[in-house]
Assembly symmetry: C2
Homo-oligomer: 256 residues x 2
């Protein structure tokens, strides 16, 4: 079982879209794939049509693992209408976790421990992160072996990337291990100067960690999310799907 996290503290850069797109392609290629929604805002959970408010639980239960009535993680997993693609959903209660857990030690491994119990059931796990450094993102970084960092090709998001990399360095120091990562340019619009300038800046500053694949702005990707279908399985999203296939090839090649 291989675990990838998709994270960036900057909001709206395509984290959820990327997690779903890569997960959809892996499942279509035959891998038993689990998508974990670590964002209390539950975008990934909603993407597949689930009502996060109405669910009995999900990721939140991983943090109650010691409690007598906490179900095993497998019990909270929901199948989707796509073969081999399942979701461990988010619920709004997760927004209170940082305040509840506070400085309590040892809560950084709740996800890693839960995924260990699922190792025989899934080949691939992709973890979608919230746009905020906190216990939920820290758990995702501790549980994954590779990090995908979607970065919108424009100014405000480039600053955000520097901050994300600094937070990552802080977490790596605390854990004493380096996390392989791949920065993925997203929402690229070749018609605008700001997008092209940002991509050039990314290539100059982060050449060794930057994906070759650039995910273009593709309005059909939004249509796909309206329909609850991963970008790769939405025929009209040709450009976006092709870019995500290229990205998946790069990630798999790095693993070998």
């Amino acid at each position: 079982m291989r675990v990838w996290a998709v994270a960036n503290q900057k909001g709206g850069v395509g984290k959820t879209t990327t997690t779903v797109a890569l997960g959809g392609l892996l499942a279509a290629a035959g891998a038993r794939t689990l998508l974990v929604d670590m964002d209390p805002h539950a975008s990934l959970t909603s993407y597949f049509g689930f009502d996060a408010e109405a669910l009995p639980g999900g990721v939140y239960d991983l943090f109650r693992a010691g409690a007598a009535d906490a179900p095993p993680p497998a019990e909270r997993i929901l199948p989707t209408r796509f073969e081999r693609l399942a979701v461990l959903p988010a619920t709004p209660a997760m927004a209170t976790l940082d305040r509840q857990l506070g400085a309590r030690a040892g809560m950084g491994l709740a996800l890693a421990e839960a995924l260990a119990t699922l190792a025989d059931d899934y080949d691939r796990v992709l973890v979608d992160c919230p746009p905020m450094l906190g216990v939920l993102m820290v758990n995702a970084l501790a549980a994954c072996e590779r990090l995908v960092i979607p970065t919108q090709t424009e100014f405000l998001a480039l600053n955000g990337l520097e901050r994300m990399l600094r937070s990552l360095a802080m977490i790596e120091r605390a854990r004493g291990m380096r996390l392989p990562r791949l920065i993925v340019p997203t929402l690229y619009d070749g018609r605008t100067h700001a997008s092209a300038a940002s991509l050039r800046a990314l290539r100059e500053r982060h050449a060794d960690e930057l994906a070759q694949s650039v995910i273009p702005v593709d309005t059909q990707i939004r249509e796909a999310s309206l329909a609850g279908v991963p970008a790769g399985a939405w025929p009209a999203a040709r450009r976006g799907a092709q870019a995500y296939r290229g990205l998946l090839d790069e990630l798999l090649a790095q693993e070998a």
Copy 2:
């Protein structure tokens, strides 16, 4: 002094862009305007060219108000190159506040108390929020008299809006007061079905709280942020600036 907060738990919907655009227009119209950056990711602080990592402090100090060495809020405010427009900046340390403060009572009013000390210095205050429900957003909601909720006109963001309104209802119940709010459609792209369908859904579901102004996708708005200039002061961003002027007129009319 009038205080507006700009919030939505969904990431990347235009909160920072809206805060800066409205603040720039208010300052240009003669109001002494303070922009408060409550997002540890510090997008608003970076927008004006400040390096959040290098600053001595900012919003973080409001939460240390009791400490002997905590400076008065006014000391942390930075002028911008735009007349009558100043910034109370964010720093990355704010990301630890939820964990540090935990369930400690009474930390929901740190911003409101700080702004009270500045009442004679500013006519207008605009507060930019992080994309996460936590102590920073709760402070912004407690300190403001009106809430602006930018909502991207597409599917994932519409779900996010419902969740934001539920969180708001929870906070209003706890505080025993209703917060006037205005939902602002942003990043509208009339060429796509998803955008038009989302705007129709917004008009059906939230007619009484929805702004008449719709902020269009305008690539010049990104150019403006690259240059560190509010959208209204960037001549090429005609469409975006016009929409933001319309929005400001609506907000001012509701106040009267």
